[in-house]
Symmetry: C2
Subunit: 151 residues, 2 copies
Amino acid sequence: MSIEQDIKQARFRSPYQRMAVNLLFTSNWIGDMQMRLMRPQGITLQQYNVLRILRGQHPNPVRVADIMERMLDKMSNASRLVDKLVAKEFVKRTECCSDRRAVDVVITESGLALLTEIDDLQTGWETTLSTLNETEANQLSNLLDKLRGSE
Amino acid sequence: MSIEQDIKQARFRSPYQRMAVNLLFTSNWIGDMQMRLMRPQGITLQQYNVLRILRGQHPNPVRVADIMERMLDKMSNASRLVDKLVAKEFVKRTECCSDRRAVDVVITESGLALLTEIDDLQTGWETTLSTLNETEANQLSNLLDKLRGSE
DNA sequence: TTGTATTAAATGTTGCTACATCAACTGTAA
DNA sequence: TTACAGTTGATGTAGCAACATTTAATACAA
């Protein structure tokens, strides 16, 4: 369905405005589906992102500042996200020995097991996106890269 | 810059995962720029969206439920967004005569003037997106439409 | 060594989304 | 007319983003 129908707006000021609105709308659409996928597992999309970052370095610890840097949603409260994950015992927080300001965060076995479960769900979910074939998916990615290119 | 570099992740499970992550990331990037554009005007991106919906129907009133339906971010608290806009006197809230449950919301002169200012800023901002040419912008929009197509 | 700047994380505030619930009102059928 | 289901908007809660500030630890220069 065209973006015009989806948001009930007949005209856009320019192809660029149409594209920008379409991007925000489609991103919400995807984020919403992802959220519904995560919820039964007891974590949020942002908490999942933190867990994925930690798995990427496992068994090495990752500092809070490094987590922040890698997150999709820029600088933020990684500290509080880690709080929630500690409470659910999906990660452990330990003081770094060489620098007592820093905090090392490590994913637990329980956290790794959760990610394994979610991986399967994700793989299934991706078939939802197969209204595009692989070539088109790559083409879309490349256009997005080019769009952000000036930075 | 490629999404791999931007989020420091070397590999994705599939072209579809890469595309989904890229979409969320690029949408945040755009939303972030838009937010910075709005802030000096004293409103948020979501409040701006509400104002635009109201302008689209001006001088007719729009009900809260209709605002909700047209928003990019699905069902939500349009009621509270309207609160904020009423406080800033950009909109007026009046009880609907024919149905006392419903609330009619209308944009004020002051609200219209604000939107006119922001329009100019938006036009300027769109040149930021000209790393893509118009053809590519349309191509991107069409791919996004096709992606959501199954719905 | 002492003072200052810097860094890392935590915390407080405002505004938002998603969801559940509530209160007021309306439409309709018994 | 009354009872009840459905609708409309408001409100309470949890979680997150963006930003500013605070606290503690560290680096470094005088």
